[in-house]
Amino acid sequence: MPQAAQVRLENIGKRYGEIWAARYVDLHIQRGEFFTFLGPSGCGKTTLLRMIAGFVFPDEGMIFLDDQPVSHVPPWQRDVGLVFQNYALWPHMSVFDNVAFGLRERKVPLKEIERKVAEALEMVELKGTEKRRPSELSGGQQQRVALARTLVIQPRALLLDEPLSNLDAKLRVEMRLELLKLQRDLGLTTIYVTHDQEEALAMSTRIAVMEKGKVVQVGTPREIYELPINEFVAGFVGQSNLFSGKILRLAESSLAVEIDDELIIHAAWAAVATRVTLGDSIFLTIRPEAIQLTKSASGPRETNQIEGEVIAAVYRGALIEYELRAAGKTIKVHAINPKGKPSYLRGEKVFASFASEDVVLVPIT
């Protein structure tokens, strides 16, 4: 039985005409990891996945499965399982024949094939559909057949290309959990491609955020969300308030950033990952849910506090989304779990406050 492998990309580059679809990609994906390529469409994440599957050969660099170089091994010899966005179930074959395909290619004896297909279908809870055609199944069921077809060959790595994007919202969340459970149970090295940041945060052990063919940041979901490395990551992953300013003062426990000569925001050193000096231009971001609203000014001097006016309020059940106008800026605020707490109306004057630890400095690149 093939073991789950680690996947290593060394300085990978792929060019289409003048444009590099991916370049300078160095990644080391651990055995059993759930690793996500996250980025907007056209960022090169699918190209990377297709290079690992062998449909595209890199123009630069090397790909390793464990320590074996596979950059130019054809797809049918790689033993990495791929699940396509559109499932790619063969319409002229029954569910059984679809799932059995990879086993037959591997010359598995018939008895064994029957047992393994039954097991795989049971695993995705589709026992009894063997004789049906893919077109007779629902979208969610087709998705699970596609998964079973790939898992049944016990691939060395599982590659998933936006597998949930064709499902409706509720089913997507269910499949997310089901997929994670399968992955953990089987200990599969999984590489997942998505443009949905929420999905990436919820499922991954690590995420590589990609932009224009380059990997911008690699880290755990927490690192990516809480310490975005640049403006792009801060804007792409989750919502945030992003301001540009200049470093005005350096103090012992915090530093002060001046924004457009009218607003000074304090950031704790503990949350500053980048190297800064006095006078530097810099971005700072504050997550909407880190900001509290109060009717009147309060709190110690060290806390950031801005007076503003509510210009929009949207009730969303789990939270209320506010937009404030303050010091010439628009500020997004999420009031979490609003039940029983005061709410504010359009036009009301409020104070927005947030801890200096919640301010993240991002270098201007």
Binding site: P74, W76, L82, H92, E105
Partner: protein, 564 residues
């Protein structure tokens, strides 16, 4: 705002209802009824009862049995040889990108612009007993090969004419296969020939089979080719000969007609079934596969394609040479060149060309009107009888021209039609009617497809913003379907230009004959062959112009027009 509150639903229904009634009346009079009359004659005995005795007689006559077997055999051979030419071309065109691909694609559809009976004459000159090739063979090896004798001549001509049908259908099927279908198989370990056999072949098969069946229908329906080659032992020429030599009351002719219809109707139904299967290959929308082709592989592909296409363009070459020749007999190439042939057909007997333009343009116009009305009712009304309308409008695909013509003669001969005050069969209008009915399925399909693109919500949005029904139709629906209507009309025009099997039976007087009839008449005498060829060249030009325009409007989807 209107002061009164009319009941729009009722008025619309009344309007749709009367259109439907009128359409049904036309289709029943000119399609269903004539065919049922043919069937009736073949099934009735002298005293008026039902009988199968005529069919038993048919089966007892060796001549007819042989004609039936020959028809099936030659149709199958045409399909077989066409497939040999068409499938490699389709694969290359659907799967590879290379320089000269567009040229190859265009050349591969050129056989469609030459009417098969014209091609038959041209091939006689090149491959016939005293044609170019056999003269060379005689000179060098003192032998000859009877390419064009008997059945093999018919099969050869029809193969070279009809193989694009298989090619276009197969190519469409192939390019509809989503890339992920094959990539998934590669991912699971299959590649090369095995992958082709397990995945690609089954997915392209429906298109291939549909194309093959279509070719089969066309081949057995073709009357012109056997007549030109003087090979009469097939069903279509038998039906023609019985009716024209023995007479309109000869029951055997009708029996042959019914057997022909049974054959092509069965084939059509089979083709439909396979095409509905073919739809499954297109349910996923993704990128089709197209790989660049270079080096030795490219050279091989180009050489192979050139050979196939070179052979299939022989008729064009032959007819062009013949049209400029004064004398071409027992010599490799014409011995004396002249422009007289063109002068002949354009100055002395221009009516052939003019008649064709008149008849086919009228027929195309009627087809567009009828097709659009039928498509509209099929898609936008909930009237009962829609399915009947659809069914009758589809029937002509499976009705050989000879059979429709026999039906027309049976029904409209011998009584004065109102308004014209003469039997319809003695006016040229009968030809327009025959063309209109035979090509109606094309415009119905084109209009249906075009109208399908106009989602009801697009019309509703216009109405919601204040446009009334008429304005909505003029500003939203009509502009969106115009392309489809024109393309459908062009196909009707092009295919009517080369119609011979109904024409040859229905032309009331020689001066009322269209171009195809003219070619047939000219070709009967050795002296007229040059002029006949010149008419053939004119036909090719007409058809090319129509086909070119269709491609311009339909774009890459032009191939769809030649599907079932």
């Amino acid at each position: 705002m209107a002061k009164t509150e009319p009941a729009p639903r009722e008025r619309v229904d009344w309007w749709q209802g009367s259109t439907m009634t009128l359409l049904l009346l036309i289709l029943i009079s000119f399609i269903l009824y004539p065919i049922l009359r043919v069937l009736w004659v073949s099934l009735s005995e002298d005293r008026g009862g039902l009988t199968l005795v005529h069919f038993a007689n048919f089966y007892r006559r060796p001549l007819f049995r042989e004609a039936l077997v020959n028809t099936l055999w030659s149709g199958s051979l045409v399909v077989f040889f066409s497939a040999l030419m068409a499938v490699p071309l389709a694969y290359v065109i659907a799967r590879y990108e290379f320089r000269g691909k567009l040229l190859l694609q265009t050349a591969a559809t050129l056989p469609l612009v030459i009417p098969p009976f014209v091609g038959a004459v041209a091939l006689q000159l090149i491959l016939g007993r005293s044609g170019m090739v056999n003269l060379l063979l005689m000179r060098w090896f003192d032998t000859n090969i009877p390419f064009m004798e008997g059945l093999s001549g018919v099969v050869l001509v029809q193969t070279l004419h009809y193989f694009p049908f298989i090619m276009l259908n197969t190519a469409v099927s192939l390019s509809n296969i989503d890339a992920s279908m094959e990539e998934m198989a590669e991912n699971l370990g299959a590649h090369g020939l095995r992958l082709f056999r397990l995945i690609t072949l089954p997915l392209m098969l429906p298109g291939f089979i549909a194309g093959s069946l279509l070719t089969f229908i066309r081949a057995i329906d073709d009357l012109g080719t056997p007549l030109m080659l003087n090979y009469k032992n097939l069903l279509a020429p038998q039906a023609y000969l019985r009716i024209t030599t023995i007479g309109i009351h000869d029951v055997d002719g009708y029996v042959v007609c019914v057997v022909l219809v049974a054959l092509s109707l069965t084939t059509l139904l089979a083709a439909r079934k396979y095409l509905s299967l073919a739809e499954y290959a297109t349910t996923h929308r993704g990128m089709p596969i197209s790989r660049p082709l270079r080096g030795n592989k490219l050279a091989l592909v180009l050489i192979l394609s050139s050979v196939i296409l070179g052979i299939s363009l022989l008729p064009h070459l032959g007819i062009l040479l013949l049209s400029f020749s004064k004398v071409w007999s027992f010599s490799l190439l014409p011995t004396v060149y002249t422009l007289d042939n063109y002068a002949d057909i354009l100055l002395r007997a221009p009516h052939f060309v003019l008649n064709t333009l008149l008849y086919t343009l009228l027929a195309a116009g009627f087809d567009v009107l009828l097709g659009a009305a039928i498509a509209f009712l099929l898609l936008r009304s909930r009237l009962r009888g829609r399915n009947l309308l659809d069914a009758i409008a589809t029937i002509p695909l499976a009705i050989p021209g000879v059979v429709l013509a026999v039906g027309f003669l049976r029904v409209f001969h011998g009584w004065n039609f109102p308004v014209v005050d003469a039997p319809l069969t003695s006016t040229w209008f009968i030809l327009v009617i025959a063309y209109t009915m035979r090509r109606l399925p094309y415009t119905v399909r084109a209009s249906y497809a075009a109208l399908q693109q106009v989602h009801v919500t697009l019309e509703e949005a216009a109405q919601n913003l204040g446009a009334n029904r008429l304005k909505t139709f003029l500003k939203i629906t009509l502009p969106m379907i115009t392309g489809g209507l024109v393309a459908g009309g062009l196909i009707a025009f092009v295919t009517s230009c080369v119609e011979l099997s109904a024409t040859i039976m229905l032309v009331p007087r020689i001066e009322m004959g269209p171009i195809s009839y003219g070619i047939y008449i000219y070709m009967q005498s050795a002296l007229g062959r040059g002029a006949g060829a010149a008419l053939g060249v004119v036909t090719i030009l007409l058809v090319s112009a129509g086909t070119y325009l269709t491609h311009r409007i339909f774009g890459g989807r032009a191939g769809n027009a030649f599907r079932v």
